[in-house]
Symmetry: C2
Subunit: 305 residues, 2 copies
């Protein structure tokens, strides 16, 4: 599976071999979180290792991660090892809600500020090694430091196109990413609804636990249900791989006027040359930063077409 | 194989599962350095993955690394992918030589300062992810910042014991680590010889290329041959695994009055409850820092007994 930008644009089929060390790191992390014995940890790593030759050069990280987290579930017997972390992320993010809303209220461009807030929420990610500090990233937004990125790299922040499409769209599918980040998504969704309360927004979460990706309960705790209809992708991949989504999800996705794809996992997984998709994410690892042509930590708003 | 401190002291058999992501990172690094195709890189990662189940829970990192770098040689056809990096490390280190010698000359405790210099040279390491900056670490020594570590963690810096043993020892085996670091080792060796020119010092390098470990040519370029007799360990493991060293090396090693084991690779690999070994290294990765009970970047001088 390739990414959303078409291989013509990128010159060659994309490979993600650089992600493999990270999968072993995730496997070790889940081993620690679930407190299994060294013997079980060894079996986990052996099985993860044996799955590697089965990946093709074109496998996307979420496709590989889905298989690896299946192995982890089998050996640990724990269905949702990140449950506690997700709850903490939700609480942490809810603690910022009021301050972020005020920031939007005071901004001369409320929509732009809401987008920045939503993307900054993408810093909450345990799938990617968390070298970026959540509070620091949020404070950056509060200090308007991201203005520089938008000014200097306009191709990576297609705000005018986003505004135009949003104006014309009556229905929107917003593909969620991580727990906690959901609170930041809520701010953007609330701003969209404030301008036009008749817009129909669907917020898609994962069907089953996968890393720290948001589930129905996370979206509800975050308060998204007041402004959007929460739907499930029908899959347990940490990114929207259309081939394994449910029929119900695909029906809504296909009929929507606009698709907002949130987070690095969805950027990696969702390839759909057949329609316009706008990716909102923070470039959180060197592989993606190189792919996009940006620096680590940059906030990206970019179309697939 | 266990570490040098005996399992009694550490409570349980040491496992290094946390090192596995790092081996994949090394494999990717060698793929980049040798410029092989994506197809070859994939084959390398597949073969590295298939080797993982063959490692026991007690395998030391250098044992595993030796097998993995064998796979890399097979697929890339390149015997010494770090050759250019090693040459650059030697040049970089030689550029510091004069300044470091002056620092030793001005120090009230020349031996102590030479030890600090030698350990700081251990920051030059491409086997471990190089987040520690060489120049910055060297400048730290020049600013005496390591004094704090020695004062606050005396168990990790057994200087008095080192001085006593050195006084009593007529022959010393100094197990080298990385290219470039050799120049820093030279400073300690020259100081030992300055005090007593009759001491016989053997400096051990690896027999064949393995990561950026020093070979005969690196020791010679670094000028070690003027003060020590350069010998080979007889092995291509990035650490001194006694079981695979040459008979010639083992004969010298066994007869030596004192063994100075330099670097993290030797700390991980060399287990010899039968004799006194002093480990000099910088804790450069979280696995080793946790094992030793120190912080990343701490300089360690510690005995096995």
């Amino acid at each position: 599976m390739s990414l959303g930008f078409g291989s013509e644009e990128r010159g060659s089929v994309k490979t993600y071999l650089e992600c493999i060390p990270c999968f072993f790191r995730q496997a070790l992390e889940v081993g620690r979180l679930t407190g299994v014995s060294d013997g079980v940890r060894k079996k986990i790593l052996d099985d993860v290792a044996l799955s590697i030759p089965g990946f093709s050069l074109e496998s996307s990280p979420p496709e590989m991660a889905r298989i690896i987290h299946g192995i982890l579930r089998k050996h640990t017997g724990v269905d949702d090892p990140y449950k506690e972390i997700k709850e903490k992320s939700n609480s942490l993010a809810l603690g910022f809600y009021r301050k972020l809303k005020e920031k939007v209220d005071k901004s001369p461009d409320r929509l732009l500020k809401s987008i920045e807030v939503a993307i900054a929420g993408n810093v909450i990610d345990y799938g990617v090694k968390n070298t970026l500090d959540v509070e620091e990233e949020i404070n950056k937004i509060l200090r308007n430091e991201n203005e520089v990125i938008k000014r200097e790299k306009p191709d990576l922040f297609e705000y005018e196109k986003f505004k135009d499409e949003l104006d014309k769209s009556a229905s929107i599918v917003y593909l969620g990413d991580n727990a906690g980040e959901t609170v930041f998504d809520r701010i953007l969704i609330e701003e969209i609804k404030r301008v036009d309360k008749n817009k129909k927004i669907y917020y898609a979460v994962k069907e089953k636990p996968t890393i720290n990706d948001a589930l129905l309960e996370d979206a509800i705790v975050s308060g998204i249900d007041h402004s959007a209809e929460i739907i499930s992708s029908g899959s347990d991949a940490p990114g929207t791989i259309l081939a394994i989504c449910s029929k119900e999800f695909l029906s809504i996705y296909k009929q929507a006027d606009m698709v907002i794809s949130k987070g690095q996992g969805n950027f990696e997984a969702l390839s759909d040359p057949g329609r316009s998709v706008v990716y909102l994410f923070m470039a959180k690892c060197p592989v993606i930063a190189k792919e996009v042509g940006c620096d680590m930590g940059d906030i990206i708003l970019r179309y697939n077409t």
